[in-house]
Amino acid sequence: MIEVLFFARLRETLDLARLALELTEPTTVGALKAQLAARGPGWQALFAGCQVLAAVNQELADDATPIRPGDEVAFFPPATGG
């Protein structure tokens, strides 16, 4: 299992804050994005733009970053704090 978290605009668009996914073998952030985009048009639109950042175990990640069972993955827009 992995836990996938969504924040800010993504959380609102999907109406979903977290999602538990079955994961039996290692994957990557890019492959997970493709898998999520296949869930429907709303998901596809979400991952089409470049304005979605990813983190694996609370560290910024890119498409090549590996994901292993038990990992915490998050997707969110660029930061606007401060």
Partner: protein, 158 residues
């Protein structure tokens, strides 16, 4: 050397935080620089309230990492970053950064460095409420350029 990262759901009090740093005799330093960011109140673009969201856990780690990078560049005494989350109104403080050092130059530089990286790297997101509705604030390219400036400066030194 003490690093302090505080995510607050209520009452960020810049005066109290400043006093805390001034009174810290254990880290007696010659200079203290503070920055306070507040919710803007522009009549041309009325924002009635603002919601601050963060990624609990990653936000704290990210701020600690930014402080670590500042410490690698300048000799610093105390660093204190406090950031509000939740509902805020115009005029209320959102963020406080306080840096002590032996001399003003490194304290000024580190304070600006911390803010520039906080704005682009720490996972916080702002949503504005206006009379016309609500909107997520878009990231500004000028903020990315402000952080980039420090990388360029370091490359020049090397």
């Amino acid at each position: 050397m003490t690093d302090d990262v505080r995510i607050l759901t209520t009452g960020l009090d810049p005066a109290a935080l400043t006093t805390e740093l001034v009174n810290d005799r254990a880290h007696s330093q010659g200079a203290l620089v503070t920055f306070v960011g507040m919710v803007r109140d522009l009549s041309a673009n009325p924002v009635t309230a603002m919601q601050l969201e963060h990624y609990p856990g990653m936000t704290e780690k990210s701020l600690a990492a930014i402080i670590g990078r500042a410490r690698a560049r300048w000799p610093l005494g105390r660093v204190l970053i406090a950031h509000r989350v939740g509902l805020l109104h115009p005029g209320e403080p959102i963020v406080f950064v306080g840096v002590t050092g032996s001399h003003r130059r490194e304290a000024f530089a580190a304070c600006e460095f911390l803010m520039d990286y906080l704005k682009t790297e720490a996972p916080f997101w702002k949503k504005e409420f206006t009379p016309d509705g609500e909107r997520w604030v878009e990231a500004k390219s000028s903020d990315g350029e402000a952080a980039q400036r420090w990388r360029a400066a370091q490359q020049q030194q090397q």
